[in-house]
């Protein structure tokens, strides 16, 4: 598996470059041109990104996650998400790197091939850092009024948490 994973990225870059050469594109010039655009975009996003990171680090160190998990507990009781996984479910829309390190420590604590670990793995495999995406995407185009993005994205996240625990109970 690890082998397949290692192939994806290099193969994608390889095919883009070779296909470009094949079509007679001046690949290096083109690359530099596009990279310049990427640089400009990043400079535009940086302020909102720094703002988000400030809020996320503050949330994580203050212990607010415990409170949020506690607030979530009625929902998790109702839907059958294991209690142990709730903090991960709360953290994953907010911080990708935070969720990954929490997931790793869960693997160490609970081991693999049990239901707690499976639910956690499916959550990690099927959700993305929602607030990071919102900040980056809208930051790049200077959109301040995000309208129904946050409620829609969060309900998608909630669905993936609930589904993951249901599927594990059905399939394993």
């Amino acid at each position: 598996m690890a082998v397949v994973g290692a192939w994806v990225l290099p193969s994608m870059i390889f095919s883009i470059i070779v296909f470009g050469l094949f079509k007679g594109v001046n690949v290096f010039e083109c690359f530099v041109d596009g990279a310049k655009g990427g640089m400009k975009t990043l400079v535009g996003i940086m302020p909102s990104l720094i703002g988000l990171i400030l809020a996320v680090t503050m949330l994580r160190s203050s212990g607010a996650l415990d409170i949020l998990s506690w607030l979530m507990s009625p929902i998790s009781k109702l839907t059958g998400i294991p209690d142990e996984v709730v903090p991960l479910a709360v953290l994953s829309p907010i911080s990708g790197s935070g969720a990954l390190s929490m997931y790793e420590s869960m693997l160490n604590k609970y081991g693999v091939d049990n239901n707690i670990e499976r639910v956690a793995s499916i959550i990690m495999g099927s959700s993305e850092t929602t607030f990071y995406a919102i900040t980056l995407y809208y930051g790049a185009v200077d959109v301040k009024k995000t309208r129904h993005t946050v409620p829609s994205a969060l309900s998608a996240d909630l669905t993936s948490f609930i589904m993951s625990s249901w599927i594990v109970r059905l399939m394993f």
Binding site: G20, G37, I67, S121
Partner: protein
């Protein structure tokens, strides 16, 4: 986003009071700035790399081919979009990177798509329905192979590290379905 951001900070402050974590909170603010710059630097590399590769893929006609391949799917999600347009091409690249599990590559493509959609936005500063859809699509993250998770499970001795794959697909698909339904329902209220 305005209230959420402020809410996050207010919540952090009060939880620090409730749990006596004020020192930790204070330390984290000092470190947070450095963390942010580290992330920006990493992102700078990613944005430049994929920005460059995207340009090559575009000029060679590769994105066009991808776009044709994904047309049936795009038609369902973005019924009003011109599928030969530049934004549809960037969205195709974004979806492909997501499916391959290359989250780092998906972000620059998605941002490029946002910029192209914004070029035709009649009301600058206000998200269009298609923009909302793209963001929700990315937060649901459809991927074929959950590589990172499978790798970690293997390291921890799982018998069949990929046995969660089907379950991940179902879960992603359900969250995409609910997300899109919410976009559709809430989007009807107009701007």
């Amino acid at each position: 986003m305005n209230y959420i951001w402020a809410g996050m900070i207010v919540l952090a402050f009060f939880s620090a009071i409730a749990q006596g974590n004020m020192q930790a909170l204070s330390d984290s603010v000092m470190v947070g700035g450095t963390d942010a710059i580290n992330l920006c630097l990493r992102l700078l590399g990613i944005m430049c790399l994929w920005g460059g590769l995207m340009k090559i893929a575009e000029r060679s006609g590769l994105t066009n081919a991808l776009c044709k391949l994904l047309k049936p799917f795009l038609k369902i999600i973005f019924p009003k979009m011109d599928l030969d347009s530049k934004e549809a091409q960037a969205i195709s690249m974004n979806i492909t990177a997501n499916l391959l599990g290359l989250g780092n590559a998906a972000t620059p493509f998605g941002i490029e798509a946002m910029k192209r959609m914004d070029a035709q936005n009649p009301q600058k500063g206000v998200a269009t329905n298609d923009m909302v859809k793209l963001v929700v699509l990315n937060s649901a993250s459809l991927r074929i192979i959950p590589t990172t998770v499978a790798m970690l499970r293997q390291q921890h001795g799982a018998k069949v590290p990929m046995d969660i794959m089907t379950a991940s697909w179902i879960s992603s698909a359900a969250s995409l379905l609910v997300g899109m339904t919410m976009v559709w329902i809430l989007g009807k209220r107009g701007r």
